[in-house]
């Protein structure tokens, strides 16, 4: 299939879905409207709402807040996960001691931490950043840990025979290997940073895309909910594309582009 045909078919799916939605919410079939607009809104209304947000500029502050929270959660969570993962992998004793606790915290659905973070850090951005960190940290931690553990024994023996000291092994062997595993999970960890931010906002905040959706829901403004969801989806896709660009730049030495989503 050519790229053009594929693109045409992909657009066709959107046109059919949105067309049906518009049709079923506005034209009565056998005397009844199958999807009452009160519950399902209308694509035209949703579109009008999005246009209005961007036209009066009220959306930017929410996008900015969510972006800030996501970036902070990603950077802090990644740094922490990488450092601790590296440390645990090089000190098996420490890893063994902490192993049950790491498993326990990772098994916990992180949403239940949101009220605690709100209590500790208030309703500002930091309670959302903290929630995002708890999600990002473990993804990066497990990948870096694995990356250091799974360095090829032959490559390691070769590095030793080439005269590398322990410090040089870190720099030239363990670290690049760990980084490659970390980058292969970049899509997942960036996604989790956004999830942390939005869920945190949804549960209690004064700004952000999650707040926007929650507010609309509170007054049964279904068009607002769908508009918020659409903007959020577009936001995540833009970030995902950026991550792909970064990934391609950083992992040029990789044989195939790994897609470690989900």
């Amino acid at each position: 299939m050519s790229r053009l045909t594929l693109l045409a078919l992909q657009i066709l799916v959107a046109v059919v879905v949105i067309g049906l939605w518009q049709l079923l919410t506005s034209v009565p079939i056998f005397g009844t409207v199958l999807l009452p607009p009160f519950f399902f809104s209308r694509p035209a209304d949703v579109g009008a709402r999005i246009v209005k947000w961007f036209a009066d500029g009220s959306i930017w502050i929410h996008l900015w807040i969510t972006l800030t929270e996501s970036v902070l959660a990603f950077v802090i969570g990644s740094l922490g996960g990488a450092l601790v993962g590296f440390w645990f992998a090089r000190k098996p004793l420490i890893a063994a001691v902490f192993d049950p606790y790491v498993k326990m915290i990772n098994a916990l659905p992180r949403v239940v931490l949101a009220p605690i973070f709100a209590l500790w850090l208030g309703l500002g951005i930091w309670s959302k950043v903290a929630l995002g960190i708890t999600l990002v940290f473990f993804v990066v931690f497990f990948n870096v840990y694995q990356g250091v553990k799974e360095v090829s024994p032959t490559v390691l023996a070769n590095a030793r025979m080439l005269g590398m000291s322990e410090r040089q092994l870190m720099r030239h062997v363990y670290w690049p290997s760990a980084l490659s595993w970390m980058f292969s999970s970049l899509h997942t960890s960036v996604g989790f940073a956004v999830v942390g931010a939005v869920v945190g906002e949804y549960l209690g905040s004064a700004a952000g895309l999650g707040y926007l959706i929650q507010q609309a829901e509170g007054v049964f403004d279904v068009a607002g909910v769908f508009a918020g969801m659409t903007v959020l989806a577009a936001f995540v896709i833009v970030i995902d594309v950026l991550v792909s660009v970064v990934e391609r730049r950083l992992l040029v030495w990789r044989p195939v582009a790994h897609d470690a989503r989900g």
């Binding site: 032959t154 590095a159 030239h172």
Partner: protein, 277 residues
């Protein structure tokens, strides 16, 4: 065998393995003796090939000479000094891919000098010279995954030789390559080696390759507890051309003589591994 012994005493011994026994602790806590009472000397500048059936502990012997594993009994001497820890005077060419996948060819070759403290620019310039010496002068910015198996072996050879090791340890280095590439690599190795002769321990399961390359061929018995059971001097003239020398009558005579000993061990080894090895 007498000839070989006479040769040993003439030059200083680059590697001397004396009554070496190497054992591994298995998962069920029993011990597996890979090599028992093996003695072998490699003179400085001498090319010794070690041939044996699959799984006989040839690589184990090499790893002991490299200091990558400690023998259960016996001693390893490098230029007369007992070996403690890693063998810093040796270069090791591995059977499996050992290049750093995140470094370009040039960086892979230069790294041995860089970690020893050579300034980066100087190390890179020297690496570029070595790349052209192994015929890959224009491939400096490629990553290992972009190269063929033969090209990766050339990079590996340059990576090891750039440090001018006094001893070269090679563990079936051309094993994964196809027949033509093996011959080309064999010739390249002989060319580089004759320009700067070092003691070489070359492990292979291919007797033809061993005779074509080496000054001496050592045969190991089938494992476990493998021993050295034969030692032949190869008097074929140098320089050699690996493909052509195999047509030589002297080559055939040697091959027949050594194969008569090796064949029994190969059959034994084959029976033990159930033909899987």
């Amino acid at each position: 065998m007498q000839q070989a012994a006479a040769r040993e005493s003439a030059a200083p011994r680059a590697v001397h393995l004396d009554d070496l026994t190497i054992a591994f602790r298995l998962a069920d806590r029993s011990t597996f003796t890979a090599v028992r009472d093996a003695s072998l000397s490699v003179a400085d500048g001498e090319f010794v090939a070690i041939v044996g059936p699959t799984g006989c502990g040839k690589s184990t012997l090499l790893n002991a000479a490299a200091g990558l594993l400690t023998p259960a009994a016996g001693t390893v001497e490098i230029f007369g000094q007992p070996l403690a820890g890693l063998n810093r005077t040796a270069g090791y060419l591995f059977q499996a891919d050992a290049l750093f996948p995140w470094k370009t060819s040039l960086e892979n070759v230069a790294i041995g000098l860089e970690v020893a403290g050579t300034p980066k620019a100087e190390a890179r310039a020297e690496a570029a010279r070595w790349l052209s010496r192994v015929g890959l002068g224009t491939f400096g910015d490629r990553y290992p995954h972009m190269l063929s198996g033969g090209q990766r072996k050339r990079i590996g050879l340059a990576q090891v030789l750039i440090r001018h090791p006094k001893i070269l340890l090679m563990d079936e280095p051309f094993g994964p390559l196809d027949a033509q590439t093996r011959q080309i690599m064999g010739n390249l190795l002989l060319e580089l080696w004759s320009a700067d002769r070092k003691g070489v321990m070359f492990v292979t399961h291919d007797l033809e390759e061993a005779i074509a390359l080496a000054d001496r061929v050592v045969i190991m018995s089938a494992g476990p507890a493998a021993r050295i059971i034969g030692d032949w001097t190869i008097p074929l003239a140098r320089p050699r051309e690996v493909a052509e020398i195999k047509l030589d009558k002297a080559f055939h005579d040697l091959h027949r003589e050594i194969w008569a000993v090796l064949r029994d061990e190969v059959m034994k080894g084959y029976a033990q591994t159930g033909g899987l090895g």
